[in-house]
Point group: C2
Chain length 333, copies 2
DNA sequence: CTGTTAGCGCCTTCAT
DNA sequence: ATGAAGGCGCTAACAG
């Protein structure tokens, strides 16, 4: 801590006012005459006073913090959500307190309880998969809660995201309309990534509707990565070489698939179509821009914060904000 | 906040002991008899008691928080450092409080002061470029401070990172030993990214020592990205086609350069060598693994936390931990 | 527009 | 091994 950090009392004494007056100036709250405000501000600067947030939080039963629970920092998607959160928070005086759950609801519960111990103004979490205890903590508290990424279930308070099922469905529809018929799928571990599974199911539904089927699928047993995409596509094609398009669980995997095609001399977009999900920059910088779906990750984070801070009280109505998605036609499918 | 959250008092009453006894059980501190501990723990579970951290922080003049200042979340390097920090923190009871500075020392200073307001146990920040005011806040407080990424200057307390100047120098040496002579350089904005500039200077020094020079260089005016690397290499080669190797400010840029070569039918590793910095997964998943240097970003975050928590007091001696780097020979240079 | 009073929930210090 | 008293720095609620 700061050594001998000055307190409200010190400032008040120097400015010749009471503590509460300084407090009001600091928080910019309540009516203060121009002259006292200036006197107080001078004293604050002179002493280099910085309010003690712990004291403030205790006295007002609430901290200017937003608890943020992310499943992972390895998947670039979540740093981007976090960037959106940070951007929206920048001018508000709130700060994010971050926890990483490793896609584990039990770990989420532990971290949640330690975040709640700070009496944050709101909690931002990911998806709808929580333990009963987490759900209870969140419901019995009255703080605002945003569940991000997904809109395919009923939120506790606010949901911000997109329908992954529909995104998968539209992927299928889009590719069918481009005359692809022999579909393959390359995925990663979806016990962890529930939303990848929803997209897969949407894809299957679209194929079904058109009387088509997945000719082959292969799932890497681990998190998504470029290397995993590369190796898993290789494995898929060695089993089933005559596919005309492969849908990947996300762009990381698809970019890896693209690299495999380069190595194996497969003409992407002609012999074989490739389709991703997310619309990452890397995919669009490829020699052939990746065909994919843009999920609006930055917007998800930003909008979540905006909605959460609109009202301190949880409204009667649950709110679902669909941030949508767009198909990026690209050149790989 | 939790509605009617139970307090120490409630637990104490239920367990038939005094508050301080409960406090001791919760913090696992001081002598407690087996039987009272169990009685108290039962009461805690029964009530679902969660300690109020704000009150704890106020009473003990210090919060179980680590302030973390990162320049950016867009550059994958920093989420990886953060991952290391999180991993090391996981079992300690400390939580990270994160601020993003956008490479702006003034913004850093503002965020620093608001982090310090929580009385954190330590501050982790990036590089050595701080405002005088920041430096004063950090010095006059007695809390531990780690400055990450870099070891090319004197730290306030602890530095954890690598010498970017030497990394640049070794890049030059390595490429010269592989008989490259006609060097080009593709960079990004180094007003923001000071360390990219150090690597550049190291490279120049190595060339100098060998009686060589940079035949051409081009810097993108903005942050590094795959697309920037792609376009900037194209620009460089259109001006100066007869280079035999190009060094990039980092892997993102180099991967973009690789993509340009694919599009322009330049045979990488034969007609033209490419060299990056960081050792990102994406570079190693390319059809030709990228020649680059592995910086140990995860380790930097992890070690910083370990060292910071070793002692609460700042030791007399400043500590510099060199996490080193390795040349990844790769296949592109 | 400014001040007084009374805690917020916990921990430190000292006693027993 | 346990407890009593007091205060950390701030703010809510009310007065004036």
């Amino acid at each position: 801590m700061l050594q001998d950090a000055p307190t409200l009392t010190d400032v008040a004494r120097l400015a010749g006012v009471s503590e509460i007056t300084v407090s009001r100036v600091v928080r910019n709250k309540g009516p203060i005459s121009r002259s006292t405000r200036e006197r107080v501000q001078a004293a604050i600067e002179k002493l280099g006073y910085v309010p003690n947030r712990a004291a403030g939080a205790l006295a007002s039963a609430g901290a200017p913090l937003i608890g943020v629970l992310l499943p992972s920092l390895s998947n670039i998607v979540f740093p981007e959500v976090l960037r959106g959160i940070h951007t929206a928070l920048a001018s508000t005086g709130y700060q994010p307190l971050i926890g990483v759950t490793d896609y584990d609801p039990v770990k989420e519960q532990e971290i949640l309880s330690s975040l709640l111990a700070w009496q944050p103004a709101a909690i931002i979490t990911t998806g709808f998969e929580h333990t009963d205890a987490s759900r209870r903590m969140l419901s019995s508290s009255k703080i605002r809660v945003a569940e991000l990424m997904d809109t395919d279930a009923e939120p506790i308070d606010i949901a911000v995201g997109l329908s992954h099922r529909r995104a998968g469905f539209d992927t299928g529809r889009h590719l069918i309309s481009r005359n692809y018929r022999r579909f393959g799928y390359v995925g990663h571990d979806w016990n962890a990534d529930h939303r990848a599974r929803l997209r897969y199911e949407g894809l299957r539904a679209a194929l079904d509707e058109a009387g088509l089927e997945l000719k082959a699928e292969e799932r890497f047993d681990g998190p998504s990565s470029t290397m995993a995409g590369r190796e898993t596509l290789a494995a898929l094609l060695s089993r089933k070489p005559d596919l005309d398009v492969v849908v990947f669980s996300n762009d990381d995997m698809a970019v890896g698939g693209f690299f495999h095609c380069l190595s194996a001399n497969i003409r992407v977009g002609q012999t074989l179509g490739l389709f991703g999900f997310n619309g990452l920059d890397i995919g669009q910088a490829l020699p052939l821009p990746l065909s994919t779906i843009r999920s609006n990750r930055f917007a998800i984070g930003r909008i979540a914060v905006e909605k959460l801070l609109e009202t301190g009280q949880r409204p009667a109505e649950k709110l679902i904000v669909d941030t949508g998605y767009e198909i990026i036609a690209g050149a790989t499918a």
